[in-house]
Symmetry: C2
Subunit: 220 residues, 2 copies
Amino acid sequence: MTLSEEDYIKTIYHLSSGQEESISTNAIADQMATKPSSVTDMVKKLSEKNMVNYKKYKGVSLTEKGRLTALSIVRKHRLWEVFLVDKLDFAWDEVHEVAEQLEHIKSDKLIDKLDTYLGNPRVNPHGDPIPSKEGVFKKSVKKLISELPVGSKGVCVGVNDSSVAFLKFLDKNKISLGDSLRIIEREDFDGSVSIVINDREMRISDQIASNLFLEILENK
Amino acid sequence: MTLSEEDYIKTIYHLSSGQEESISTNAIADQMATKPSSVTDMVKKLSEKNMVNYKKYKGVSLTEKGRLTALSIVRKHRLWEVFLVDKLDFAWDEVHEVAEQLEHIKSDKLIDKLDTYLGNPRVNPHGDPIPSKEGVFKKSVKKLISELPVGSKGVCVGVNDSSVAFLKFLDKNKISLGDSLRIIEREDFDGSVSIVINDREMRISDQIASNLFLEILENK
DNA sequence: AATTTAATTTAGACAAAACTAAATATTTGT
DNA sequence: ACAAATATTTAGTTTTGTCTAAATTAAATT
């Protein structure tokens, strides 16, 4: 697989959100900042290699082989993201560009050892799941803390209400996007929730819980 | 700089061993497993970019700009080698291939943070010096332990006598190539030497000391 | 110093991956 | 259902880095 082929496979995977959807050449071209005619050329090549299903004018979808290839790239990308944030102290929103390069490094041994070194993480700093070597992984969903049952754990990935007041509250309480969070207890009376965030326990009101999105792994 | 350009710069640097020697296109072609005519093409391009001095039929040498570029690549290569051995537990002789890929990752921030994370190492697992960000570094030399003064420290990089008996001795005493070693004291009477290797102190005879090569940094 | 040999460069071609412009399908609106 | 608009593909170029074969220069030998 060339670098360029890998980029196409990854883009097709993301555009079809892991499903078997057929993706248009134009959608791929937009996403990759290239031209539709270039996409047609590459897609033919990938079809020759049995990485994608392609019928003229009918769009593209990944074959099983293509899907596994995509998952291996996603695995590498997300493991490197964990490395950059946990070990090298990058901020969670500055890792993408570098991980984009690192994901193309070819060495199974390297990825195995990196995985072990990082403690076999299940999610990247954004809360997205990391596929296993065999391409197995849990889907993740994004939900408000107020919608989740006691015991859930996940990563803060967004806010509903981005008012200055709310963001200030988060800042004051040292809650950042990318932080890991677990729900310990919920008070039925007022909907307030007790959480552990960065090994620190605190209680947040229902208003807060209804404005903070968590990315969690589905337990299927 | 493209990947290919970087490989040429690095090869020219290594063939001229950091000096201003003029290197023949054939030598470069041999080293890179490519054809002399390809080298001529690339060398012209690098000359346009002021990375090398090139006169037809007269060979190639790096300009100052080219030398600094080469040192930056060498720095990245050797820092990644330290990472692979110290953190990921690779053996010292299996890191080259992977480091060869990692050295092309483009991110100054990444390398700065990696350097810090590794504790600003001065040498790679082979005992080769790591240039600073500014391209400054000490030369290294390879000498027998018996030739070095008390106080010297370096990395074991080779043996003079590779007889089975000697290698068995090294194995039994847990001395491996790549190990760090410091000379504590020398007994004038028999030439035996007291050393610290992997935080363990031991005494070796003159025969041993005259058969084990150390790579040390020159203190100029 | 002339000739042979070896090294190096030039010229022309190729493959990968991209692009532009033109041609062809498909979808949409009436 | 048909014309117009949009999406997709084809054909023909371009760039980068490589190659082979031929031409040229430099080095070695006699």
